[in-house]
Symmetry: D2
Subunit: 476 residues, 4 copies
Amino acid sequence: MRTLIKGGTIVNADAITRADVLIDGEEIALIGLDLDVPADQVIDATGKWVIPGGIDGHTHMELPFGGTFAKDTFETGTRAAAFGGTTTIIDFAVQPRGGTFHQGLDAWHEKADGKACIDYGFHMIVSDMRDELLPEMDRLVEEGITDFKLFTAYPGVFLSDDAAIFKALRQTTKNGGLILMHAENGPVIDAVAADLVANGMTDPIGHGLARYPVFEGEATNRVIRLAKAAGAPVYFVHMSAADAVNELRRARDEGLPIYGETCPQYLFLSLEDLGNGFDGAKFVCSPPLRDIKGGHQEELWKALVSDDLQLIGTDHCPFDFHGQKEMGRGDFRKIPNGLPGVEERVDLMHDGGVVTGKLSPSRWVELVSTAPARMFGLPRKGSVAVGLDADVVVYDPNRRHVLSAQTHHMAVDYSCYEGRPVQGGADVVISRGKVIVDHGTWLGSAGHGKFLRREPRGFAEATRTKLAQPAPAVVG
Amino acid sequence: MRTLIKGGTIVNADAITRADVLIDGEEIALIGLDLDVPADQVIDATGKWVIPGGIDGHTHMELPFGGTFAKDTFETGTRAAAFGGTTTIIDFAVQPRGGTFHQGLDAWHEKADGKACIDYGFHMIVSDMRDELLPEMDRLVEEGITDFKLFTAYPGVFLSDDAAIFKALRQTTKNGGLILMHAENGPVIDAVAADLVANGMTDPIGHGLARYPVFEGEATNRVIRLAKAAGAPVYFVHMSAADAVNELRRARDEGLPIYGETCPQYLFLSLEDLGNGFDGAKFVCSPPLRDIKGGHQEELWKALVSDDLQLIGTDHCPFDFHGQKEMGRGDFRKIPNGLPGVEERVDLMHDGGVVTGKLSPSRWVELVSTAPARMFGLPRKGSVAVGLDADVVVYDPNRRHVLSAQTHHMAVDYSCYEGRPVQGGADVVISRGKVIVDHGTWLGSAGHGKFLRREPRGFAEATRTKLAQPAPAVVG
Amino acid sequence: MRTLIKGGTIVNADAITRADVLIDGEEIALIGLDLDVPADQVIDATGKWVIPGGIDGHTHMELPFGGTFAKDTFETGTRAAAFGGTTTIIDFAVQPRGGTFHQGLDAWHEKADGKACIDYGFHMIVSDMRDELLPEMDRLVEEGITDFKLFTAYPGVFLSDDAAIFKALRQTTKNGGLILMHAENGPVIDAVAADLVANGMTDPIGHGLARYPVFEGEATNRVIRLAKAAGAPVYFVHMSAADAVNELRRARDEGLPIYGETCPQYLFLSLEDLGNGFDGAKFVCSPPLRDIKGGHQEELWKALVSDDLQLIGTDHCPFDFHGQKEMGRGDFRKIPNGLPGVEERVDLMHDGGVVTGKLSPSRWVELVSTAPARMFGLPRKGSVAVGLDADVVVYDPNRRHVLSAQTHHMAVDYSCYEGRPVQGGADVVISRGKVIVDHGTWLGSAGHGKFLRREPRGFAEATRTKLAQPAPAVVG
Amino acid sequence: MRTLIKGGTIVNADAITRADVLIDGEEIALIGLDLDVPADQVIDATGKWVIPGGIDGHTHMELPFGGTFAKDTFETGTRAAAFGGTTTIIDFAVQPRGGTFHQGLDAWHEKADGKACIDYGFHMIVSDMRDELLPEMDRLVEEGITDFKLFTAYPGVFLSDDAAIFKALRQTTKNGGLILMHAENGPVIDAVAADLVANGMTDPIGHGLARYPVFEGEATNRVIRLAKAAGAPVYFVHMSAADAVNELRRARDEGLPIYGETCPQYLFLSLEDLGNGFDGAKFVCSPPLRDIKGGHQEELWKALVSDDLQLIGTDHCPFDFHGQKEMGRGDFRKIPNGLPGVEERVDLMHDGGVVTGKLSPSRWVELVSTAPARMFGLPRKGSVAVGLDADVVVYDPNRRHVLSAQTHHMAVDYSCYEGRPVQGGADVVISRGKVIVDHGTWLGSAGHGKFLRREPRGFAEATRTKLAQPAPAVVG
């Protein structure tokens, strides 16, 4: 099966060129000027951009949370991702508390196998960092599960204490893995939240009020310092607060290998969205959306431009408003945490980033595809280049459409961006050589997506340096 | 009883003047030029300095630790303090785990009552910060126990979790108390220490190697951020690491009401002292002495000059080398933590500060007397001024002597400064009008010292500002 | 002549006490409880504070500027100062361009001699820093003129180039003098101002718009770095912008001996005052009043509390609105720069600092009297202490009055604070033993004030450390 | 003419792939797997890397300096560049003082036209920033001379005063140009240098001793702040000192569009090289090589990794030791400033960056080719991509050779790296489709190189954002 993309402009992270692309089987086989070669199908990309397929390094399909499950399955979620121009996700398998990592991994393989419409990898959520599991971390890295997410939040569910975090960090200096952190001071947040509820503040806005920005800043610095002591790199997921970004900058100015991601919701939504009575439940996620007056969005954008934040994920974790979010009526602490977003990421970043002039087209591609490919050890993804997997999107930078639950493909009954017009959309989406979306028509299939064994130390390539060696920290 | 001090130079924190001082009863009654008034005794202070008696805000008499007790009783310890020019101590009463604050307070009153040779107050060590004790904090403040020491170190003994620290901080915004913090990340330190021991490193130097400077820096920032969220001030005891001082500076540059103390051992001793086999046990305290090459001493001195550190305490907590420190042979974790020092503070700061030109005489007086008086709510102490308590020292800035366990008065079998010559010494020490030390002769008596009910919010006066109001932190 | 002040509360920088004060001749002779000694006059200070007389280290009496002269003479200006509780000023003698320092000094001695009502010293304004004048700097220091003010502003009038500033700084490392800096980037300001005028913006607000805060921040850092290279201390006069305060903090955090002053106008007035048509000319001074939205006032207050700013001067330099300020109608660049203020400083800092709770009474005394005495080498001033000059003010912290040109004693036809009520006022003002103001009645006389030979290296005492040694800067 | 490169690994800034490259005429025409197409010549790149040709954005061919000229002509210099794997240079045309920009440009066109062996562009050195030249800046931008270099050093030769710098910066906000800055405080350096010479220090080491790192830091911050006030971006050439890098970081953390370059000499040489008597003259350049103990190299490397420094130039400006450098015997100020380096840049960065593990291969390519292409507006350069100019190098990452004046191709009688072994070398160098170096054999020709009209606002693409808008700076 050979597909020829003609007339488009290839937008890669390093250069923008006019050239045609021939896909042969699952790979990009040939790039040339005015290619005149036989092909099974020809896609006219005149006036369009040809970009590497989006990579969303942060999704939660079917995540159990608070007695319910995130609505999107690997089938519905990856299908929605594809409609939005994303051709790879990395989802979070969850270790059961008291269990092993592989128990969680097996469960996630079962969820995904035969269901995913696009390629996928797994990170491992550490629910319970027991010393005897440290050697199992090494085995996971060998099996291509190269990252481990730990939490300073969610006491009793996911929270790891500082000693456990330190030991996990230290283990990655031996096995080449990477610790991903959800950094908020959960125990203190819970104390503030309990007070709010005790004082009658039970609406969704309470979720945002309880989780001070400074609690994210504190936890971010804490983990940075533990990582420095361990001689390990760290990657902060879903950074939302200026307080945290400032700690990230400080660490990177010191030359520490510290990386960060943010998500569209922190760039385009704010605390105010949580304030319309219980309707605000639609916007409950952690960390919370931040007060627009706090300057958080501005700092996130600055950091995306300066490369202090390296990439964009979604933290896609959708719960229906009806029946799921409603579990928290009368107590915001019972609202399932999470937002839908896997479908909208590429377009939102184009509309709010490229169209507004904040990002160049190449930087946009870097943030949504190239950087995640590097950071997470996927050398066959992230560029329109000969020899790589043919994950390619023909993107129309001028097409305007409106985001809405009426039209989106995520299995959730609302959109965080209901009615928002955006400029830019994926016209044709190709996953390993197969056209799976063609101008709004679904041509993909469950099971097409394959599990990706990832390379360790991708972050080192991503960030252009080898792992910092742990200096004898006592001197510092 | 009237005592006339003639011919001396009064060195106060704000000015240096030549004048005579008349003490009548327990107060300073008159200061004048060439005073010619009747007196029961006349002290010739020609060529000497007349300074307010030293105030050591950080002592641990008879502290139980690791199955033994600090050697100095209130009698021996305050007597030694007096020989060193200190006329007030504030000691730490310890709440028993599971018990109330008053149980600890009662025990300490019993230890001190009728024993102390100089005036004394109490801070309260919080071993177990249960929610139901919060109202008891208010009562202690009313009773003149205005400070509460919490720990991020010593898991299972003193460690409070972050939520408990946050609640205690918040309580002080209501009752005017002050939280004192021992800031080191204890759980992580214990993990590192366990590894060292497992790898055969059991000597005292292991104590210093396990407690990285960055672990003090991290905990310092953590508590600063919790205090910011609570709208409360915080005072850091025994700061030792550049990492921590830098966090203190950052917070103060933001305008936060954050204060700090250091101790002579961090200015004059270093990690190297821990390194001579088991003899290093003499120097085991927490935080540990720091690597001389890490620049920690230099940063502490800078901060003393710029007033980022406001005062000097000792953390006096002496254990005999023989019989007590020796409990840790074969495992440095079992060495009782603590050093003697209450007797040497004033002289060391004179010799190492004033004589070297790092500190002016007035700044020296401020660090060892005036600032502790303000910070800890003792308006009748800290200055040679009419109407204040007659806690006065006739100090010879030129007298040279040698520090040694052979000659010191602390009830401990070694000196950290054995053989060190110092310039400057207290010739005559007067406590509330009574001469208790006269050129090396002890004239004092157990029970002369009285319990001091302290004023809350002393720190506000100390730092020249009212308490910062807690801004709606979610916006920040 | 003996004067007894009875019943008052002595507020010094280091302590607050109830005691009586006996003045004998020009000195404070005796302080005691309920003094019952013979005296020529007795002042009842019941319910009042007894404070050291204010010291204004920054005045410009009869300064020539833009073809006119500041209105206050040494007689009118020092009389007004006294009414406001200030008993010492340090004025700026001006070197004539092309001339010597002593030519300027002689001229200023002539202005002041026999005219001043209170004691006075001189700083030297360097208009023209020629290499051959460097040895003359040494002689001035010996003669008690220990400070030299240089400018990065006012090209063609006062501006020194960077090499000249560096050489002057280096000279003070040898002679113990102190460089005072007016730090704004004058050449760039002039370019912006010329553009504004060319674009029709000629009103007084243009003065404020042309002088960006960043231009003060830049020049402040520039001089800090030259001082670091020279191994010299620096004192920044009239700091107004957050940008500059941040540079000051950064330098002090590095341990550099950098000091700063601000003035009441930067704490209580703002750019908005410049905006009412030509009436804004009343508020034209340099640096300009700053935009209230820029957070400058908040940063100045923070720095006053943390001691990053050490003291308060006025930059008193009054020009009548009618006839003098009016010279700049049609071109704001021709408005004489300067505001009246010598009379209002002590009360404004009490009302806006102590009454609001931003400053403790002791910190207020430190800022307006004790710190200037130390910084500028006046060991006989700055404290109510036996043996010092009897510069004493009986201050009523509760008396309310209204600031107004109708009632002030400065020789200028407007007040910057017209109609502003303030709490606190000097009831009795004593200069070297002589009552010169008694409840609003003038009892002083021209010629009572004496020239003060000042001690070099006062700043070292002020800031509690000896001069930093110039490290081999090439390594840094 | 068709050239096929077979078997190599394409190393681009965004991805590394195995593919063959067909060059047709002057462009890259086709990239494919195992290309089997007719070609005039086939290059076997098995085991080699195929990289975009190096771009050196900072050279000075035939620069007049101190009465002599840099030795390399456009012919010898570009030939040497090519041997080192560089296929584009951007040289600095010099405005004659008192003259126009075009007078300088015309002179440089004359030097280069028909001589250059590889493509070249011009920056414009501003010797004399007169107001009437501002409109000529706009015209140069339109003509593809998009950058203007100004100096805070070299008084009387190149130094611009702050007002001129500010005006030039402001002009670029209108015309899309970019100001390049040589940031050292020249007047103060000259004062220090004069003192050194007066004190008998005339050897080349004096050059390094006079130019303190803090003088580079100061000037860097000064220009950053002027740029902030003007709302303009700035690019700092040849950053050498930690002090300057720290200012760069601070500005970038604030979100300002500030960019920086360093050069191999600051990464691999140090002040110590200046110290061997007059032989040190070989290493005289400005800014000078820095003290190895000052940590400057470490900070430069950190900044290269974190992208605070975006690219590597050489400041190639060679003078013979014999006859030219010798002009400064007896007075280091007369030594012509400049080092040879255009030939060694790519290899040094590979050997010292990639081989040591400090840089990934992709980051290396970005620093030496992709980033300069973007920053300086050369969209047809900087990537091995179809449709771009066929500036391609077949690079052997394993070949070891030794740097030496015996073997280099620069027209200068010494090498700064004499005897240094390096790993990595350009085997085949192709300029716009023509093989000009083939395994050490020169196949190129003078005149092959063409003048490049560059695009303005390349920096915006380089740094992924549009120009920051000048906020109303008075508020900040």
